[in-house]
Amino acid sequence: MTTTGQTRSTPVYPGRHADGGPVPGAGATDETTVIPVVQDLDDPGVPDDEWDEEFRPSRGGWVGRGLVWAFLAWLVLALPVNRFSPFEVGVADIDVLSLAAIYAIGGLSLNVLLGYAGQISLGHQAFVGIGAFTSAYIVTNLQLSFWLAVAVAAGFGAIQATLLGAISLRLSGLYFALVTLAYGTFAEETLFGIAALTGGEGGKPAPRPLGFESGYAYYYLCLGFLALVLWLDWRLTRSKGGRALAALRENPRVASSYGINVKAYILLAFALSGIFAGIAGSLMAHHDEVIVGSSFDFRLALLFILMTVVGGLRDRVGVVIGSAFFALLEEKLLIEMIERLCHFLLEPFGLAGWSIGEVLQGTVGLPLEFVGLIVGPLLLLLTITKYPGGIGQQVAPIRLWLTGHRFDRHAGAVTEVEVNDVRA
């Protein structure tokens, strides 16, 4: 270090304990680490039409894209109708598909915290659970409308998340993770155990809203809320708030020198996450029709982490796919649906007798109900060690092609960016 410009003048930060040890509460221990950042070509602030200004798909290209869009729309919207569908969706299955949409909302909720704001939450089951019990209480005990209940559940979700967020401002990331863990257990056992509010161990009934009693109608209701949440999430990343979060996650010092009130925007992220979680909770309550506190346990929190991380942090398409994937896997519907699809495709060739479930059970001795338990964590480990972009990164080329870009196999590739890992 003989050159003049290279060393920092005083590498002593007030946030650091004199002996250099970890001090919770002292947010800024300027530790530089390398975290992978998805090179999201669909970056917030860069509208699709501006990204690749020269490229316009040909007419044939548009037709091709239109066909794929139509196929996807049919896949999602026509599932319950079973029209031309190979999946033969029954009443029990449609409830699982609704659950997939609800989990997607929950996954997007955690993504706001973990992805955008860089704050870990191991107590997300509490966020969702508070929404669920609020909604059930309003509909069952107060005899008020479901629509009001969703709004209030979202509000309660926001309030409890903001309170927790206020605590996070005083702690560094890893210590805050412990608080969320304890908070989740506390909510599950204490808050959700208050019989007067939650019905105790017997649970609380939560009837479905008028006109949405059937599983099929409820599925569309969940899709509608998912669309709403996706819209809000999209607007967040394309507006002031999203840009502020992106800046403060990576470098709080730069963010504050841009005039961003770092603490206020962290609280904003908590509040928005709470709103999404409240909506998810409300939908979950009326989906199950009777809810009990013990269903909001630590494993649900871990499931949300699986969904967002494997789906791909900061990638809303990936998070939605990841959430649906885990919901279907948990409820054992995924493999069944794949089998039905195979059956549908292979039947004309007389190869219909084949079953993945039997193969798994026969060769590995892994019964269907345990596939999710084994596959989920392994996918998580694989994602964070090898493919940090998650599912979102894998589908990014298709997603970009669908929105009118050139097909590029390497789109969304993950590159390493040096980041001041300050919040952790």
Binding site: H17, D19, G21, P22, V23, P24, G25, T33, V34, I35, P36, L114, G118, I120, L122, I167, R170, L171, G173, L174, Y175, A177, L178, V179, L181, A182, Y183, T185, F186, E188, E189, T190, L191, G193, I194, A195, G200, D297, F298, R299, L302, I305, L306, V309, L366, P367, F370, L373, I374, G376, P377, L378, L380, L381, I384, T385, V419, D421, R423, A424
Partner: protein, 302 residues
């Protein structure tokens, strides 16, 4: 009033006994955190895996108890080394939140495998090393010999760790933790130190699981979110130790055990989940008021 005092006495005794399990978990957490700054969410699962190992050997295969314990410890050790190799080492440059998620992933994977392999008897019972129990006169607390054995093992483990950290290998670990680059230069392999740290942590976790398993029946994920939940209390004990002091981790374990047992007092009977509430309030209080820990001792000033 006297009833409250009696209950308090019982809570303190029960808290210390349960706290010795937390202390074993906390020792592993502190050890790993000092070595790599990682919050190891798989620490409690090392215990469950050890317990499942011992259960398999003793109950299913009919091995002798000591052999079963060794087998269980071996299983925990294997998981610890696998974690280091497959998760911690590849993520050495990742952000610490990512590593935390990685260790949680290890725990989840272990739980998943337990559910799958032991799904025929979901609720299992591990025999005790010694079936005896007695009552402490005056206080009236009931104590099992098994719990006393745990307390004894904790004492032995603490002394062994203290001695180990004065030996050349132990000093090498401390050097590598404080000055990784300089240690490489004087010939200490940081990689080997990391393996050694995780091995010791896994063994401590394994002991916690094998010794506390017989307290009650157990299921998959016993120490992480089952009946023998020790992950959060273990972390809290470690926080009380400032995430760095070994003796602090032991004292912290006792303290957390006692606080948790206060949740069982009759006056809190009407509060649902009083133990969880006590723990949450205690953690918040400690982190907001004394984030540097309470039982830190000389380690912090050194």
């Amino acid at each position: 009033m006297s009833q409250l005092l009696t209950e308090l006495g019982i809570a303190v005794v029960a808290g210390i006994l349960q706290g010795s399990v937390y202390a074993l978990v906390a020792l592993g957490i502190v050890l790993v955190h000092r070595a790599s700054g990682v919050f190891n969410f798989a620490q409690a699962e090392f215990g469950t895996v050890g317990l499942f190992g011992a259960y398999t050997a003793v109950v299913l295969w009919g091995w002798s108890y000591p052999a079963g314990i060794l087998f269980g410890l071996g299983a925990a050790l294997a998981l610890g080394l696998l974690t280091e190799r497959l998760v911690i080492h590849p993520l050495r440059n990742a952000s610490r939140v990512t590593v935390l998620v990685g260790t949680a992933g290890v725990a989840l994977a272990a739980v998943g495998i337990q559910f799958w392999r032991f799904n025929e008897t979901p609720i299992m019972t591990m025999p005790k090393i010694h079936e005896g129990f007695f009552r402490i006169p005056l206080i009236g607390a009931s104590v099992t010999v098994q719990q006393l054995i745990t307390l004894g093992v904790l004492a032995v483990a603490s002394v062994a760790l203290a001695l180990f950290f004065r030996s050349p290998s132990g000093l090498a670990i401390q050097a590598a933790q404080q000055e990784p680059t300089a240690s490489e230069l004087v010939g200490i392999s940081v990689r080997r130190v990391s393996m050694l740290t995780w091995a010791i942590a896994a063994l401590l976790g394994g002991l916690a699981g094998i010794l506390s398993g017989p307290y009650t029946t157990f299921t998959a994920g016993f120490l992480t979110f089952g009946a023998g939940r020790a992950l959060l209390p273990g972390f809290m004990a470690a926080v009380l130790a400032g995430m760095r002091s070994m003796p602090g981790a032991v004292l912290g374990g006792f303290a957390v055990g006692i606080v948790e047992q206060l949740g069982t007092l009759t006056i809190l009977l009407s509060v649902p989940g009083a133990r969880a509430m006590m723990l949450f309030a205690f953690l918040l209080g400690v982190l907001l008021l004394r984030p540097q820990g309470i039982f830190v001792g000389r380690a912090a000033t050194a």
